[in-house]
């Protein structure tokens, strides 16, 4: 078997915000870094992020600080977050955002010439640094241009990692293939940082790209690492619902941040009816008060459209179920009646463009039709808050692929800051680990098995079409493990997953190894199955509703279930779901959450 060999101190898998930031940090620490990604550089999910990056800079409202950000994040996550990650994140994100400016990012400005911040759901004060509605592009390009000038980083574009190698219990290498040629690649390394993003392709209606097949979660799981909080999948309340071609495509929360309101088919601004007890008294109670808030009156409370995403998504779902939906099964999101044409086009240019070109809707004149879409996963690889270390030595994770920061629900804007804060920390952690474990050797005997597994789809004679199997999996997950769940539906999903597993064993690839999307899909399916099973099994065990996880058979949150996270572990061929008690939060932080900061 032929393969190319490369050797680096640290291999970073993924070149989105988390991977790039991690690679920069590890290289700065003196480690040699291989940065591997499935697409071209600059095309990772991070490029699509729209609304902004959350950091308590206090540029727009002086009352903001890390304590408020910490409190918002914990309450948004329904207290299931790892408190230490939430604290680090709130404390360090301002420095990470300022650092981007030092590397050339050009954020929108306040009148005083500082970085401007906008309102977003769940954030008490305007907190999201942004560039119109293309913040992710600004961030990825800044990081990318900074990274390519680092001497120690070697970039491997359009390469897919499919296997990890271990020596004893330690990571010692990664194996994969180069898309353009189909040739095999072996990366010898001391440490691996997973920054592979999410799992959205497990569902049919999603805002994600072809890359989101849960590769990182699956690779870590197979290597023996813990996955955590996998039941918590975020359905973003505002995806496009029409036309069919763009069903699921994201409409940024920035629309609501800039004043956009939600209405049902009767013209009612229904969110006033859905304020959960935890947030009672913190939101505007009348349209008049919401209007004053929009006009900048600091004594007015935020409009209920800015409740957390889990709450808004469920409210929309309930309105549609009650027969008050829009013609294409969503509700209306209206910014036209709230802001003038110029402001809309200046602050939401890509939304304007997206609706104009793809739906023939002029958002400065008409409301948009929107509904929930699978967007993000809060769960993922269980990591150490300080270093990003997973539970397997030599394995690190950061960004969407890691769990902990967001608990049961993520606040908008907290992902981009997550990438920067924990990308950097994982880079530090892995570089340090590589230094301390410089003698790791890889056993190349394992490579033959990897190659045989990769080539298997070419040897299936009457195998399944991988695209058909993927379609079946997605429809099944939408139907049984979607935004509202219940025991009998989840059981159906478990049964279907078993059937799909045997189909996936049988998928076939035609043609040769050169840039072959069918082959790639065959390889993706195994990962998709693993993460789909993890989501379903964890969802089955959490017999309550909390954040992104809603059970109609257990509609309330339960104090008992607030005490632990569910962790998934591989035991032989079986996927085990086990309880891990939440780490104990220091009293000072607990008080902060209960009493607020003012």
């Amino acid at each position: 078997m032929n393969y190319q060999t490369f050797e680096h101190d640290v291999i970073v898998i993924g070149a989105g915000g988390a991977g790039l930031r991690a690679a920069i940090e590890a290289a700065t620490q003196g480690a040699t870094v291989g940065l591997v990604c499935k697409s071209l550089l600059g095309k990772a999910h991070t490029v699509m992020a729209e609304g902004g990056v959350a950091a308590a800079l206090g540029n727009v409202d002086l009352r903001d600080n890390w304590q408020v950000h910490f409190r918002d994040t914990m309450r948004g996550g329904k207290m299931l977050n790892n408190w230490r990650m939430a604290q680090i994140h709130a404390q360090e994100s301002p420095a990470r955002v300022n650092e981007l400016e030092a590397w050339g990012a050009v954020f929108d400005r306040t009148k005083e010439g500082k970085i401007l911040q906008r309102n977003f759901g769940g954030h008490q004060f305007p907190r999201l640094a942004h560039v119109g509605d293309r913040t992710g592009l600004e961030i990825i390009r800044t990081l990318q241009d900074h990274a390519v000038h680092q001497k120690n980083i070697e970039v491997f574009m359009e390469c897919t990692i499919t296997h990890f190698l271990k020596e004893g219990n330690k990571i010692c290498g990664a194996f994969g293939y180069r898309r353009v040629t189909g040739e095999f690649l072996f990366f010898k390394t001391k440490a691996i940082i997973l920054a592979t993003g999410g799992i959205g392709k497990s569902f049919r209606i999603n805002s994600n790209s072809w890359e989101y097949t849960g590769d990182g979660q699956a690779l870590a799981y197979k290597a023996g690492a813990d996955l955590m909080d996998m039941e918590f999948v975020q359905f973003h309340p505002t995806g496009m619902v029409w036309p069919l071609s763009v069903k699921g495509t994201l409409v940024t929360e920035g629309v609501r941040g800039e004043g956009g309101i939600l209405k049902n088919s009767k013209g009612e601004r229904f969110m006033f009816r859905y304020v959960p007890p935890m947030f009672k008294g913190e939101f505007a109670e009348t349209e008049e008060e919401a209007k004053r808030w929009l006009a900048g009156d600091k004594s007015a409370r935020r409009p209920p459209e800015l409740l957390t995403r889990d709450v808004v998504a469920k409210a929309i779902n309930a309105e549609v179920k009650a027969g008050r939906g829009s013609p294409h099964g969503g509700v209306f999101l209206d910014i036209a009646s709230q802001r003038d044409v110029e402001t809309i086009r200046k602050k939401l240019p890509s939304m304007y463009h997206q609706f104009k070109e793809l739906a023939n809707v002029d958002i400065t004149k008409e409301p948009m039709e929107i509904g929930p879409t699978c967007h993000y996963i809060m769960g993922g690889i269980r990591v150490d808050a300080e270093t990003g270390a997973a539970t397997v030595p030599g394995l690190f994770a950061a960004g969407e692929v890691a769990a902990g920061l967001h608990g049961a629900n993520r606040l908008g804007g907290n992902s981009l800051s997550d990438l920067l804060v924990f990308g950097r920390r994982a880079g530090l952690g892995a570089a340090q680990y590589a230094k301390e474990n410089s003698s790791i050797k890889a056993d190349t005997k394992q490579l033959d098995t990897c190659a045989t597994e990769l080539l298997k789809p070419f040897n299936q004679k009457n195998g399944e079409n991988p695209y058909e199997v993927m379609d079946q999996l997605q429809k099944m997950m939408d139907a049984h493990v979607g935004i509202v769940r219940e025991e009998k539906e989840l059981q159906k999903a478990i049964d279907s997953l078993a059937q799909l597993k045997s189909k996936v064993k049988n998928v076939k690839a035609a043609g040769d190894r050169t840039y072959n999307p069918g082959w790639q899909t065959c390889l993706d399916l195994e990962n998709m199955l693993i993460v789909s099973e993890a989501i379903t099994r964890a969802a089955m065990e959490r017999k309550e509703s909390r954040g992104g996880h809603t059970r109609i058979d257990y509609p309330e949150s339960s104090a008992e279930y607030a005490k632990f996270n569910f962790v998934l572990r591989k035991k032989g061929e079986e996927m085990r779901v086990e309880k891990e008690p939440l780490p104990k939060m220091p009293a000072a932080l607990e008080i902060l959450i209960k009493e607020g900061t003012t």
């Binding site: 400005r109 970085i115 560039v131 390519v148 069919l244 079409n465 379609d471 043609g511 999307p517």
Partner: protein
């Protein structure tokens, strides 16, 4: 869903050559060309190669030529094309084809590396900077670039194999975004003239016409850069003043 179908002629092949294959695809509401390609990929031929990520005009992966015009496949609606004859979909012509609709754009990433990085002026005492939205506006237009390389694809200088010499519109846009950056103090003007050969651009504006982000590449990026080059290197009075207030020049 309607029963209507469209015919699509897709380039299938590689650097050595290939052929145009015709496929029937069912039409549905709001369908874009990328949907048609995905349909073929999922049903008729799993090996059909195409790049895409966002399917919303944000990542710049899916550039190609549709009925001979450089476009993003994900932003080109089928109902804007004449459906009485087959729609032709081909890879960009200026770069070597890898397979089907995918071409080798790695040259662009190499050029990018040659651009001296951003170098900020000293921050205020608190470690941050101040600048106005008007200053930001000037470069934010350039920073909208999604690196689809469609402008590189249509530029006749690059088409005529001047890739060794000319950086192309995409990277002149990037150079403009750095040169006009309110905080940047690096000087790239001699490079723009000597290494990236801005002089080869004769302002045909073909690049501006195809940019899906509507960046006014020629008028706002290239022409102002050309003017800066002219006043630095050809205008004797300006030269005198520049000597007096020389920025640090990276080529020296």
């Amino acid at each position: 869903m309607s029963e209507k179908t469209a015919k699509i002629k897709v380039f299938r092949g590689d650097e050595k050559g290939g052929e145009y294959k015709e496929y029937d695809v069912p039409l549905f509401e709001g369908m874009v060309v990328l949907d048609a390609i995905h349909h073929i990929q999922a049903t008729a031929d799993n090996t059909l190669a195409v790049r895409w990520n966002c399917k919303a005009g944000k990542c710049g992966s899916c550039g190609g030529e549709i009925n001979g015009k450089p476009r993003l496949m994900c932003m080109t609606r089928m109902d804007t094309l004449p459906l009485d004859k087959p729609i032709t979909v081909e890879p960009m012509k200026t770069f070597p084809v890898i397979k089907d609709l995918v071409c080798d754009v790695s040259w662009n990433f190499e050029i990018n590396k040659k651009i001296p990085p951003f170098k900020p002026k000293a921050p205020l005492a608190d470690g941050t900077w101040r600048f106005s939205q008007e200053d930001a506006d000037r470069v934010q237009e350039f920073r909208k670039c999604i690196e689809c390389f469609l402008c590189q694809n249509v530029c006749h200088v690059l088409r005529n194999h001047k890739k060794e010499e000319f950086a192309g519109p995409r990277f002149l846009v990037r150079l403009a975004s750095l040169e006009m950056h309110p905080l940047d103090v690096e000087d790239r003007l001699s490079l723009i003239k000597e290494a990236f050969h801005i002089g080869l651009c004769n302002i045909t504006k073909c690049c501006t016409e195809v940019c899906p982000e509507h960046i006014t590449i020629t008028d706002n990026a290239i022409i102002p850069l050309k003017e800066r080059v002219v006043s630095r290197f050809y205008d004797p009075i300006a030269k005198f003043w520049q000597k007096l207030f020389a920025k640090n020049d990276v080529t020296k």
